[in-house]
């Protein structure tokens, strides 16, 4: 194969040292610790199996679900193919309706833009609607460094913030905590809370509500993300369940929305498809309780100063990858996390990124460049459950396999594994060499000394199999050898 170098400059990835896209250890190491956390395993097992069942039931009600999925996929693919034009249309429309559009190449620029906008208002605190984009860029930390306090208002996000924790799920950031643990966090961190607080979900919600209410009422600046933006009218959309978003989007004077550039849809007709796909896939509801839509500034009603920050942070680089770009179709429903057997056992923190689970394993390495998250594409058994539930039919297993290859092909020096795979490839592509290798493998039975299984204490990498699984003793003769002997060929 000849590779033609077009001399294209490599597109920038999400910068290091800012935001939450990189963990400090490889996935297998982080997972090893998480797997030992029995409480985490129990909480996640319970939460994911509940939401899985809810999703399955409401999806089964929709007779044209597969067509909706196909439509969602097609709209996303078509939008990505002309993303530049759609983004410019969005900018024109938002501007024409009284909003201001800012372009942020990466997390550093986005944080600087938002911090400056808040500073200009003169306030020292903001309320926040749950947003993955602002978690991705580490906005809360950037604001804090500038002396601005950000109050998370989504219940689960609040729990994470009060507990000085990190989100572990893209929809339910505190999914790793159970009711008893949430109660303890509230008792510890909410000075005004009734000391007799129980772990009844309603009581917990009421406590959070009382805690948040005064913050909503005094807030002058709100920061949100966006689920969608409709380019043709410059309309932004936030889909939520608790109503905290509605408060943030309507009460304060200034609204700043940070949105990844991949979130837009060209028209209202496109939005219709996703508003059907998203709630059933995410919370397992037929319709989400609150859908807030706003277009620029409406004089005398709602925020009078609206800023839209369009964030790249590695998305254009992702878009440049023919196979990997499909990850940008994601509508952050979290269905793939909930069905993932790896996520269910390790939890979200093991992935080291705000985007965990199957979508995180394909998105994070692309935003950061695969070498900065090299263990993530391997954090999957390729079981395919994610692909089956994804409302926009992202073929996550194929992207995982593709990114593994990108990682392997990026190595400048041959690793021992690469050497082994190369030798094995040479052997497996020539029948005679392969037969000899099989004979050699058969000699492994000598180690078993007549026992049905091989010794458990084999050297690495075989030990990584035998630490938990017996390996049968190889047979004397392979099937193909025996067949050839019997059939004389």
């Amino acid at each position: 194969m000849t590779v033609v170098d077009l001399g294209m400059p490599t597109l920038p990835h999400a910068p290091r040292g800012v935001g939450h896209l990189r963990g400090n250890r490889p996935f297998p190491d982080a997972a090893r610790d998480a797997l030992r956390d029995g409480q985490l395993r129990a909480n996640l097992g319970h939460a994911t199996s509940t939401i899985r069942a809810k999703r399955a039931a409401v999806v089964a009600e929709v007779p044209d679900w597969e067509q909706l999925r196909a439509a969602g996929k097609a709209i996303k693919a078509a939008t990505m193919a002309r993303l530049d034009a759609h983004l410019e249309e969005l900018e024109r429309q938002v501007t024409a309706r009284g909003g201001t559009v800012h372009w942020a190449r990466d997390a550093i620029e986005a944080n600087a833009i938002v911090t400056e906008l808040v500073r200009a208002t003169g306030v020292h605190e903001v309320v926040k609607v749950k947003s993955m984009a602002t978690q991705e860029i580490g906005l809360n930390e950037a604001l804090e460094a500038a002396g601005i306090t950000a109050h998370e208002t989504d219940l689960a996000e609040l729990i994470v913030q009060l507990g000085h924790d990190q989100p572990s799920h893209i929809l339910v950031p505190a999914i790793h905590k159970n009711r008893a643990e949430i109660r303890e966090i509230f008792l510890r961190t909410m000075p005004e809370v009734d000391p007799g607080l129980s772990d009844d979900p309603r009581e917990l919600a009421m406590a959070a509500r009382a805690h948040l209410r005064e913050r909503f009422l005094r807030a002058e600046v709100a920061i949100s993300g966006a689920n969608f933006a409709v380019a043709e009218t410059g309309t932004l959309a936030v889909v939520e369940s608790e109503g905290n978003g509605r408060m943030c989007l309507t009460l304060p004077r200034t609204l700043i929305t940070v949105m990844g550039i991949e979130k837009l849809v060209p028209s209202w007709r496109d939005l219709e498809v996703f508003l059907q796909l998203l709630p059933r896939s995410s919370t397992g509801e037929r319709m989400n309780p609150y859908t807030s839509l706003w277009t620029g500034v409406t004089p005398g009603d709602g925020p009078q100063d609206f800023h839209l920050v369009l964030l790249d942070n590695g998305r254009t680089a992702t878009l440049a990858d023919e196979v990997g770009r499909e990850a940008l179709h994601c509508i952050r429903c979290s269905a793939c996390l909930n069905v993932c057997p790896v996520y269910e056992r390790t939890g979200g923190h093991a992935y080291g990124s705000v985007y965990p689970g199957p979508i995180g394993a394909v998105l994070s390495p692309q935003l950061t460049g695969v070498e900065d998250n090299a263990s993530l594409p391997y954090a999957s058994s390729l079981c395919g459950a994610c692909y089956d539930v994804c409302p926009v039919a992202i073929d996550i297993p194929s992207i995982l396999v593709h990114l593994r290859a990108e990682h392997v092909e990026a190595q400048k020096h041959a690793t021992p594994e690469a050497v082994a795979f190369r030798v094995l490839a040479k052997v497996m592509s020539h029948p005679r060499r392969w037969r000899m290798a099989q004979k050699a493998a058969g000699l492994g039975r000598l180690l078993a000394r007549g026992r049905p299984t091989m010794p458990a204490a084999l050297p690495p990498p075989a030990s990584r199999w035998t630490q938990s699984r017996d390996l049968p003793t190889p047979p004397k003769e392979t099937f193909t050898q025996a067949w050839a002997r019997e059939h004389g060929s």
Partner: protein, 265 residues
């Protein structure tokens, strides 16, 4: 029909009785079985570990080995899925366009065992006898890539003497995942533990599946725990007949690499 048997690298080297059982079964159903001698591996392990460039000559060898075959059958859902979904792409990326086309047309004639029996041969009762309590684990690639559906269960239900125990959480991955089993050994083991708990809850003597690789993993775990439940490939169960059962047999599969010669005639 003349059927070319693709044993798969793992079955051929580690569990030859599975390929033997496949051959015995197809011959019993009146078909001629050939075993192309040039066969080695489908290339899946290389592709799925990131060595797609290195996989190209392996795939090319596979295509050459099976060139001209009328129908190809393999006792492995995941190898057949790789043949269907990966082989042509691997060759195309390597610039081997003619071979890629050939791979694509071979893929159309390549079947996982249960699909071949039910869809191509149109049989669900293969005349098998297997007097054991069995639970069936649908492997991920046969379930989600090949969509074999309930074909294996239909085949098992028709086996005389067999008592089928439903596996709770059947569609959950067993945690094998190829090199995932060693690269993420701890997570793989955690998934295996849960799969084994479900298998053991059925009180089955035998856990069966259509993939020898997943069975090596599940069986390896069950064996390590010294549990009484063993893993037996679907082909071995379907190949078993009353005649082939030894008088002293309790829970062994009727076909093994050792006694196979006596039963093939």
């Amino acid at each position: 029909m003349k059927v070319a048997l693709f044993a798969t690298c793992l079955v051929d080297t580690m569990v030859p009785q599975v390929a033997r059982a496949t051959a015995v079964l197809l011959e019993r159903l009146g078909h001629e079985v050939v075993v192309p001698p040039g066969q080695a591996c489908c290339g899946q392990m290389h592709v799925n570990t990131g060595y797609r460039r290195e996989a190209a000559p392996i795939v090319a060898n596979h295509v050459r080995a099976f060139r001209g075959a009328e129908a190809i059958v393999a006792p492995s859902g995941s190898c057949v899925a790789s043949i269907h979904h990966q082989q042509a792409d691997v060759l195309r990326r390597a610039g081997e366009h003619a071979l890629a086309d050939e791979a694509a047309s071979l893929a159309e004639r390549t079947y996982e065992l249960s699909q071949f029996l039910v869809d191509v041969l149109g049989v669900t009762d293969v005349g098998a006898y297997y007097p054991h309590r069995v639970t069936y684990h649908p492997t991920c690639h046969s379930l989600r890539l090949l969509r074999v559906g309930d074909r294996p269960l239909r085949l098992l239900r028709a086996v005389r003497g067999l008592e089928l125990a439903e596996l709770p959480g059947a569609d959950q991955c067993c945690g094998f995942g190829g090199t995932f089993a060693v690269k993420n050994a701890d997570t793989s083991t955690a998934m295996l533990t849960d799969k084994m708990a479900n298998v053991l809850s059925t009180h089955a003597e035998v856990c069966t599946a259509g993939d020898a690789s997943c069975l090596l993993h599940i069986g390896g775990g069950l064996s390590r725990m010294r549990s009484g439940t063993r893993t037996v490939h679907l082909a071995e169960i379907l190949a078993s007949t009353e005649e082939a059962v030894q008088p002293d047999q309790s829970t062994r599969p009727a076909i093994s690499a050792v006694n196979a010669e006596g039963t093939t005639s």
